[in-house]
Every structure is written in C-alpha cells, then in structure tokens.
C-alpha cells in the first residue's frame, strides 16, 4: 500500500540517518542527563520533596530535551535542498508528516528508555511496580510532544529566527501535555488507582488525536508555503 510504504521509507531514512550521525539522540540525551545530574544534586537531601517534585522534574527534562531534538528534525532536510525535493515530490504531504512524526517518536522513546533508569538510580526511586502505568503515560505524552514538535519544526524551518521561534511557539501549545503528563505521573507514582487520574490520560489522548489529525491535513499548506 503506497500510504504505509511511504511512511515506512521516511521512518527508515530518518532512523538510518540518526543512527549514523547521532545528532539528535546525542543532544537530547546529554541535555537530559545534565538536567538529571543537576536535579539530583539539588534535591538529594530531602526525600519527601524529591518524591513530590519527581513528576515535574521528569517532564521538565523530557520537555526541554525534546525541544533540542525536534527543532532539528526538519533542519536536516534543508541540507542539500532536500526539503525542496520533499516539496515537489508527488507524495501526499500529510504522509510525509506522519513519517517524520513516527521517526521523531521512535528517537524520543529510545532516549527516554535510557533516561528513566538513570532517574531511578540518581533519585533512588521505588517505582518498579508503577512502571506499567507510567509507561502508558510516557508513551501517550511523548506522542503529543512529537506531534506538535514535528509540525512546528516544519513550520519554522525556513524562517530566519527559527531557534527563537520554535520554542516560543511550541511551549505554550505543549502546556496541556505537560500539565496532563505531570498530573497523571503524580497519580501513578502515588500508586493511585488509574480511575483517579484517568481524566488526565484522556486529555493527553484527545490532544494527541487532535494534533495528529490537524497536522496531517495542515501539512500540505505548510510544506507548500
């Protein structure tokens, strides 16, 4: 099927390029690692405070690290004018969006999977039995972050002030994701039954769906200018 085939090719290309140059993975990973290190020094003395602040710390680290990585997502397409080739290719531009989005999602999840154990070690967290519910929140929130990030990466890539514009546009729009993710993570870490924080997960799912569908249709206009 051409639709899925094209998505597969774009994901393949992005992952292969990333594996070979490690630009995004390295910047996301080391930035987040740096934050974890600083946080662990700041809050290591007070265990109660650490537990209360943990959901916020995790999402601050992932949120800001994602800005670094996602901002470069479409920047790589500008080298050798590859973006122009994407623009004039007969492929549906929404399909290109989905491919880029999935590529970014895989890279972000891979980095998060490495960082979560580091959070557990640095902060001596006892969350092993809470990992299933936390993993669900992590995936749903990361989908939202990548959905918005991929869209705005494309939107700002051809602007002169993209380094300033990208986080400026992205962060306010991602606020619902961070609020939902922090609240749901707090519930999961407290060991609350999922019914108590289900509404936050529902908010994240709705946000994901709205942004993926809207971006799929808007991408035609964004890429074609």
């Amino acid at each position: 099927m051409p639709f899925f085939n094209l998505i597969k090719w774009i994901v393949w290309k992005d992952i292969l390029c990333e594996m070979r140059n490690r630009e995004n993975i390295a910047s996301i990973f080391f930035f987040a690692l740096n934050l974890i290190f600083i946080f662990s020094f700041s809050f290591a003395m007070d265990r109660n405070m650490t537990e209360a602040m943990m959901p916020g710390l995790i999402w601050v680290a992932f949120g800001f690290a994602s800005i670094l990585g996602l901002g470069k997502s479409f920047l790589a397409e500008t080298y050798n004018d590859c973006l122009a080739y994407l623009q004039i290719s007969p492929a549906h531009k929404g399909t290109i969006y989905l491919g880029k989005f999935l590529g970014n999602l895989l890279i972000m999840v891979a980095v998060e999977l490495v960082l979560i154990p580091l959070f557990i070690i640095f902060f001596n967290l006892d969350i092993l039995n809470k990992l299933p519910s936390f993993s669900l929140i992590l995936i749903i929130a990361t989908i939202g972050i990548c959905a918005v990030g991929t869209l705005f990466s494309a939107l700002t890539v051809q602007t002169r002030a993209r380094e300033v514009l990208f986080p400026l546009l992205l962060l306010p729009l991602e606020a619902p994701i961070f609020i939902g993710a922090v609240e749901a993570t707090r519930g999961a870490f407290h060991g609350d039954p999922i019914a108590l924080y289900r509404h936050w997960i529902e908010l994240l799912v709705v946000f994901d769906l709205v942004f993926i569908i809207a971006s799929y249709w808007l991408f035609e206009f964004i890429l074609d200018g």
Partner: protein, 223 residues
C-alpha cells in the same frame, strides 16, 4: 503533445519584479535552453515551473493539467535537477536512489538501480555515503535518479556545472534519450556550446521577459 505551458508568469519578490508576463510552451521532444545574465530570473522561472514556487501571477500547466489544481499529478510528470543535490549526506548512493524513488511511489529492483548508476559512471560507489562524493559525482547521482524516474518533463538548472568533459557529454546523451522517449527538457545554462548540442529551441531571459532566439543566432546573441 504540449508537455509544459507557462502563461503570463509574473513574479514579485520583496517589491522587486523578477519576471513579467513570461509565456512558454514546450511540445513533446522539445529541449529548450534558457540563457540570461546572473539575476535574470532563470532559477526563479524553473522553480515556478517545477511547482516549488507560486508565481505572483499567471499559470503553469504540466501535461495539460493546471499545476495549482492538480499539484500531485503535475509533480508526478516532472523531475527537477536544481542547484541543490537533493541527496542525504548520511545515506549511501544506493539508499539515496531508493528513497528518491520511494517518494515518487516507485520501487525499482536493485538491477535497475545499479544499471542507472553504472550508466552515469558511479556504479562502483554504490555503497559509499553521498557526503563523500565530489560535486560532479553528486550531479551524476541526480542524473541517475532522473533516468529512473522517467519524467515527461525534465527541468535542469545549470546541468553542466561541476561536470567534467565526459560528464557533460553523458548529460547530453541522457537528454537526447529523454527527448527520444517523448519527454521535454527545459534547462538553464551559461554554456552556450554544450547546450546548443542538444537544444531544439533557445531563449534569453532578460529585463524580466523571455525572448526566443533562433539557435543559429545564439552564439552571437548579446546579454
């Protein structure tokens, strides 16, 4: 058959008129060589004809289809070799070919990919990352993509730049092959002699307008 029709194309860039009422029509088998001084708007015209840039005024039809209303169909019929190479530095030559074809909905077998690469003289570099190719070899890779894409309209922006003598000859051989198959070619160039070898028509873009000149007068045309 008319493959390309640009009608009264006008383009204004930041209050500066680059093109004014440029009209151009190519029939199947035409090779139109576009000349003009630096900054005359050759690349802008090619970008408009390739649907990369929306003109301020006028319209473009590719294979009889308006490029604004039937964008995807029009893009399926054309192939652009621009100033950028359109190659991903971290992909190998073969992977770049595969990806470029996948974007056009094509998945040619390895033998076809290898044949196209051999044809342009970069077969031995199939597994080399494109970042390690010289500019001339990158141009050859772009030509290999065009050979596989088999478009009805080939747009070439300065195709001879960075190519050695053998490469230029190969470029012209490939252009002839496209024309024999009924495609049209529009190229911008500064190399009058090389372009004249394959062109059936020529024009000079100057003072925002396009003036067609007979091929035999091309060598002495002033611009």
């Amino acid at each position: 058959m008319i493959t390309l029709r640009g009608y009264k194309l006008t383009h204004i860039y930041r209050y500066h008129k680059v093109l004014s009422d440029v009209s151009l029509e190519l029939q199947s088998g035409d090779c139109f060589a576009l000349f003009g001084p630096n900054g005359a708007g050759k690349t802008t015209l090619i970008k408009i004809l390739s649907t990369l840039l929306r003109p301020t005024g006028g319209s473009v039809e590719i294979m009889g289809k308006d490029s604004r209303d039937h964008r995807i169909e029009a893009r399926r019929d054309l192939f652009l070799m621009g100033h950028g190479t359109f190659h991903y530095d971290d992909l190998t030559v073969l992977e770049n070919m595969e990806f470029a074809m996948a974007l056009r909905g094509l998945s040619p077998p390895y033998s076809m990919l290898r044949n196209a690469l051999d044809r342009v003289g970069i077969g031995p570099f199939t597994l080399q990352k494109s970042r390690y190719l010289s500019t001339g070899m990158q141009k050859r890779l772009a030509l290999a993509k065009a050979l596989l894409a088999q478009p009805n309209l080939l747009l070439l922006d300065e195709p001879y730049v960075a190519l050695d003598e053998k490469g230029m000859q190969m470029m012209n051989d490939c252009i002839r092959e496209f024309l024999d198959k009924g495609a049209s070619v529009l190229m911008s160039s500064h190399d009058r002699a090389k372009a004249a070898e394959v062109s059936t028509r020529a024009g000079i873009l100057q003072n925002k307008g396009l003036k067609e000149v007979p091929l035999k007068e091309l060598a002495n045309a002033l611009f």
